[in-house]
Amino acid sequence: MSPAALVLDCRGRRCPLPIIELARRIDQVPVGAVIRVEADDPAAGPDVRAWSRLREHEFIGASPAADGTPGYEVRRLR
């Protein structure tokens, strides 16, 4: 797992709220750093991936949090 500069807790938040949070907060990490979204909505995985593509950031991958909640990591590219 890449060390994330910022972890967003989006448990219990329905899509598209996790990617709205991601869009709002990505500027808080430096370019090249990793931001991690932890979200249990089943649409969060495909949506974080698609958001990264549309916003030209790098989707790194998925790995669960300690409590089993799915987590998604994105590298800020611009």
Binding site: C15, P16, I19, I20, A23, P42, A43, P46, D47, R49
Partner: protein, 391 residues
């Protein structure tokens, strides 16, 4: 136009008439079908298996409906059966072909973006001890011919299924190219979205279609099995042929009459609707920021387009549009009973939230499309404002 007073005392206009832009979920009964059904209810109510005069009349009506559908599919009348819906036709197509080809093996290959009826039939087959494999698609939702053929011709594959065009994003699949290279592997083609809109696909061994898509009644599906294709009913045996029980003959007669009528105007309707879709595909991204238009822009169903809006939830957008008098559908998870996002959007790597599918019918007018295009930016902006979306 009607007026409605809001809670704050403001007055807003509401549309009296809903503009129906969800033809892919079903269209109203074609006028020709309505007449044919009325006539057949008087003449075709009896059991077509009986030898007395009213039974023979029912049998003649059924035979002529079968001939009409066979003619459109370039098939023989005895290859055509009628089911109670497009969905049951898909189930019977998959399960019957797998059952009939057990000697080949128990593996079922299908595209990752087939209709959920095909995926559910695949799950049923797996639960009964079989195997199933989904072939991935590209970002347009299309299978690669080489990959699909390689998977379908692998050892122990009993049958393969490929839709004529995708039901959520409209992308046409390379059915003929796949069929040409499948050898003796039976190909099941889901034509539920295309029959009545585009020329019938070639190369199928088994085909399913849905009268609801072309202005027939909701309770008629078509199951077509090519002569020489092994197919064994997944249901208990019945005297009537592939599908248990005699069909609803007046409904079948109506479905066939509507199909004949729409096929006659098919190419004119397709070019008119396709131009309207081109217009929607161009205008939506020009007027609304952060939207992705999905599916193949050219090689597609003539009457369908799908987009995903960033920072929008599909349910709120559907309700915003409904309030403005437009009926559309969505593959977003918040609009499905399962809360799962659409498997089609996931397979093509598209954004699943804020998804809207627009599908036009022969009754859709230019003016209706223009009104929709005028209303959409404000509807999207409203949902984004409610969600406090980043700009």
């Amino acid at each position: 136009m009607a007026y409605r007073r809001g809670v704050d005392g403001s007055v807003e206009t509401v549309s009296d008439e809903t503009v129906y832009l969800d033809a892919a979920s079903g269209v109203p009964l074609h006028p020709v079908a309505r007449e044919a059904i009325m006539a057949a209810q008087a003449d075709g109510w009896a059991d077509p298996g009986r030898l007395y005069a009213v039974g023979r009349r029912a049998a003649i009506l059924l035979a002529s409906a079968r001939e009409a559908v066979a003619d459109v599919l370039d098939a023989r009348p005895d290859e055509i059966s009628f089911t109670s819906s497009g969905l049951t036709a898909l189930h019977a197509a998959v399960l019957g072909t797998m059952r009939g080809n057990r000697r080949r093996g128990s593996r079922f290959v299908h595209s990752a973006v087939e209709h959920s009826a095909v995926l559910h039939a695949a799950e049923w087959h797996v639960a009964a001890g079989g195997e199933a494999e989904a072939v991935p698609v590209d970002h347009l939702a299309r299978v690669d011919v080489d990959t699909f053929v390689a998977r379908a011709r692998a050892a122990s594959v009993a049958a393969a299924a490929l839709q004529a065009a995708n039901h959520e994003v409209g992308t046409a699949q390379p059915v003929s190219a796949v069929a040409d290279r499948l050898g003796d592997v039976p190909l099941i083609v889901d034509a539920t979205q295309t029959l009545g809109h585009t020329p019938a696909p070639c190369g199928w061994s088994v085909l399913a279609a849905d009268a609801r898509q072309w202005g027939g009644p909701a309770g008629v599906g078509v199951l077509a099995v090519r002569t020489g294709t092994r197919w064994v009913s997944p249901a208990p045996a019945d005297d009537h042929g592939r599908v248990p029980g005699p069909p609803d003959i007046p409904a079948v007669v109506g479905a066939a009459a509507a199909l004949r009528a729409v096929v006659r105007e098919q190419s004119a309707t397709a070019s008119r609707l396709s131009a309207l879709i081109d217009r929607i595909r161009a205008r939506v991204p020009a007027g609304i920021p952060d939207v992705e238009v999905l599916g193949d822009p050219v090689d597609r169903l003539p009457h369908m387009v799908t987009f995903s809006f960033l920072y929008v939830d599909g349910e709120s957008l559907l309700l915003e549009l409904d309030r403005r008098g437009f009926a559309v559908s969505s593959g977003s998870s918040c609009t499905s009973s399962s809360l799962e996002p659409s498997h089609v959007l996931v397979a093509m790597g598209a954004l699943t939230s804020g998804n809207v599918r627009v599908s036009l019918s022969r009754d859709t007018t230019v003016e209706q499309v223009e009104r929709f295009l005028d209303a959409l930016p404000d509807a999207v902006a409203n949902v984004r404002a409610q969600l406090d979306a980043p700009s």
